[in-house]
């Protein structure tokens, strides 16, 4: 459902993403791993059509993102990094706005809001201004926005960042459940999450894919059988810039 071919993106002289190709099918949950600044967010932004690629193609559900941006955006639910939202709005009006932007009205809008409020446990804060919410609630409000139109494709940029262990667990199992009939890409720094929620993982370093396989396969490639050791063996810390 998501097909990325030779995707590249430069910011000035810096190549943030360099010839990345992969595919995600229905029922797959792809974990996106890599050190900070490896190009995870940039890749996701290109898939959602927020920024154009310098080279390469992305297609979602058979539609090219550059040629049919609006149609592609209809099919994607996107949680940007740091989960931004209009902080002066209440949770309810923010969700109403998101639903309306997705063309949902009347009874289907009410139904959609009910569904995501339940999924993301927002019942208790519906009338509150987003400004006044804790980080976990803010995060889940933005996640609710991404799920409101029940999209076929979900792109989640660090969906568990800033959540407490209970909330992390909750979001992980939510991703796993939804992954059964959607195509999901999510990025994370937490390696156990990959084992817990992903059907496949890609490790990206300095804009290039350095490993692609099921969590089990990746673990098997490490001498110790631990994903963390494998991760450390194939990626470089950002302090090692000069050796690139």
């Amino acid at each position: 459902m998501i097909k990325v071919e030779n995707l590249s993106r430069s910011f000035g002289p810096k190549r943030a993403v360099d010839g990345v190709s992969f595919e995600v099918g229905k029922g797959e949950v792809l974990g996106f791993l890599g050190p900070n600044g490896a190009g995870k967010s940039t890749t996701m932004r290109m898939i959602t059509g927020f920024i154009p690629p310098s080279a390469g193609r992305v297609s979602v559900c058979g539609l090219d993102v550059q040629d049919n941006p609006i149609e592609v955006k209809r099919r994607i639910g996107y949680l940007p990094e740091a989960a931004p939202s209009y902080t002066e709005m209440s949770v309810m009006s923010f969700l109403k706005f998101s639903a309306e932007m997705r063309g949902l009205e009347g009874e289907s809008r009410r139904g959609a809001i009910r569904r995501v409020v339940e999924l993301c446990h927002l019942e208790s804060v519906l009338g509150q201004t987003i400004d006044t919410l804790s980080k976990g609630f803010r995060h889940r409000t933005c996640l609710a926005q991404a799920l409101i139109h029940d999209p076929e494709v979900l792109i989640l940029d660090e969906p568990t960042d800033g959540l407490d262990p209970n909330q992390k667990h909750e979001v992980r199992s939510l991703i796993r459940r939804m992954g059964e009939n959607k195509a999901i890409i999510f990025s994370t720094h937490i390696l156990e999450e990959v084992e817990a929620a992903c059907t496949r993982a890609i490790i990206i370093d300095r804009g290039r894919i350095v490993a692609n396989g099921t969590p089990k396969e990746l673990m098997a490639r490490s001498a110790t059988g631990k994903l963390e050791d494998f991760f450390r063996s194939i990626t470089r810390p950002d302090t090692a810039e000069a050796t690139a």
Binding site: R9, F11, I51, P52, K73, P84, S85, Y86, F97, G103
Partner: protein, 248 residues
């Protein structure tokens, strides 16, 4: 066009409610009405003029708008960039131009509401004398167009930066330039050493030249064309700025 309207409307509705959900709208309205009244009745010499008209009010409006319109418009895009919500907005199924137009229309409507709230002045002159209400209507049309032009310029500067202060100052400077090229104390000075046609053609770029036409009661098509071109041009540049920002 019909397919594009729901997206524009939804964005405009959200933008308008954002004004009223924060104190911005109320502070703006109170300050605008206070200052408008103050300028009209003191510097404008509303009573001393000895004529039943709103000239005292309209004469000061370009200067009052010079600061207040950029203040109302500066957050439009810079706030989206600062909060990161621009990423949400532009990954929803609408084109960037729909978002630009929606936001602009919402703010313009807000400014028109502010203008409409000066209605007690219309009652006052009608009670005191016998003004030409046609001139008053065309004066208000000119004022609304002027507000729209300033606002579109503020939109453009707001897209340039995530810092609202910078957006504000840039907008004020551009709007000020558009006033000054037709401001008579300055054009008189210019006329001393430049040939008259230079002075005249420079003044043709000034908002005052066209604004004054509306204050005389003339709904001039050149005036309409002038103000709408400024709006269209500035909103177009806003689109280019946003696209370049994403293209990096």
């Amino acid at each position: 066009m019909k397919g594009y309207w729901p997206g524009i409307r939804t964005i405009a509705k959200r933008e308008l409610s954002a004004y009223f959900e924060s104190p911005v709208a109320y502070v703006f309205l109170v300050i605008f009405l206070l200052l408008a009244g103050f300028f009209t009745f003191t510097f404008g010499g509303f009573f001393e003029r000895g004529e039943a008209s709103l000239a005292a009010f309209f004469n000061w409006l370009p200067w009052l708008f010079l600061f207040l319109v950029p203040a109302a418009g500066m957050r439009l895009w810079s706030e989206e960039r600062r909060l990161g919500t621009i990423e949400l907005l532009l990954t929803m199924p609408v084109a960037a131009w729909q978002a630009i137009v929606g936001k602009f229309l919402a703010s313009w409507l807000f400014l028109i509401v502010a203008l409409a709230l000066t209605f007690p002045m219309i009652f006052t002159v009608n009670w005191l004398g016998d003004p030409d209400n046609g001139v008053i209507v065309s004066g208000y049309v000119g004022a609304a167009l002027l507000a729209g032009a300033y606002l579109a310029i503020s939109c453009m500067t707001s897209a340039l930066t995530r810092n609202q202060v910078i957006a504000f100052i840039l907008a004020v400077v551009i709007c000020l330039l558009l006033i000054l090229v037709g401001f008579s104390p300055l054009t008189d000075l210019l006329a001393r050493w430049a040939s008259p046609w230079v002075v005249e053609s420079v003044a043709k770029f000034s908002v005052l030249t066209y604004y004054d036409g509306f204050q005389k009661g003339v709904l001039d098509s050149r005036g309409l064309l002038y103000f709408f071109s400024i709006m269209a041009y500035s909103l177009f540049v806003t689109g280019v700025v946003i696209r370049n920002h994403r293209a990096g």
